[in-house]
């Protein structure tokens, strides 16, 4: 069975600080990896995704993530956060065999102005 672990439950940063959110997954086969963002009171939206190729993927709003296969990790980064980045961030993994996406428990990011 596939599982996803997000290490940080709540992260508080000041504007312009750098961000890194950890994500590790457990699955022996080929996976697709995602980061979704949920702004307060809204639905989940895709930030970025990795299917294959360059392990460093860039998403919307200046976010990027790096897939490190040997570490089963897909950490999310942003060099300089803004107040508007305050949201819930979910890492997710899907596989062809499972036919579904499994989500981590989410990380709440609060950015202080």
């Amino acid at each position: 069975a596939q599982s996803v672990s997000q290490h940080n439950h709540h992260v508080i940063l000041s504007e312009a600080a750098s961000l890194e959110l950890g994500c590790n997954y457990s699955y022996g086969g080929t996976v697709n990896l995602f980061w979704y963002v949920q702004y307060p009171g809204q639905h989940l939206q895709l930030l970025l995704k990795y299917f294959s190729g360059d392990p460093l993927v860039k998403g919307i709003k200046g976010f990027e993530a790096e897939f490190i296969k040997s570490k089963f990790s897909f950490n999310l980064r942003k060099p300089s956060v803004q107040w508007s980045d305050t949201a819930e961030y979910f890492c997710a993994v899907s596989s062809t065999n499972a036919g579904k996406s499994t989500f981590g428990d989410g990380t709440t990011l609060t950015v202080k102005p």
Binding site: N32, F34, Y36, Q38, Q42, H43, L44, Q45, L46, K49, F51, E88, F90, A92, V93, S94, S95, T96, G99, K100, S101, T102, F103, D105, G106, T108
Partner: protein
Amino acid sequence: DTAVSQTPKYLVTQMGNDKSIKCEQNLGHDTMYWYKQDSKKFLKIMFSYNNKELIINETVPNRFSPKSPDKAHLNLHINSLELGDSAVYFCASSASGGHTGELFFGEGSRLTVL
């Protein structure tokens, strides 16, 4: 145009009642899902349908009954509502039988059971 739309957005009801949530997607996807998000924001899959066929049922009480009249619609009916059913229910869809995994979510239906 809303790609994945759910109705109602808010639902407040008494314990023991029966309620339904409807979902429609206009993305041409063939797979649809129901996810439950609890008060701690944890997101868990409940059901998945591919071309009207149930393919995932994740240990959900049989008070929950999904129905997919066609591949663009997936409804969720809940019988005998309990306090623990209070949550936000998200509908989602994906293409290619779900194998790519990229999900498109609706805006959620917040269910409050009193």
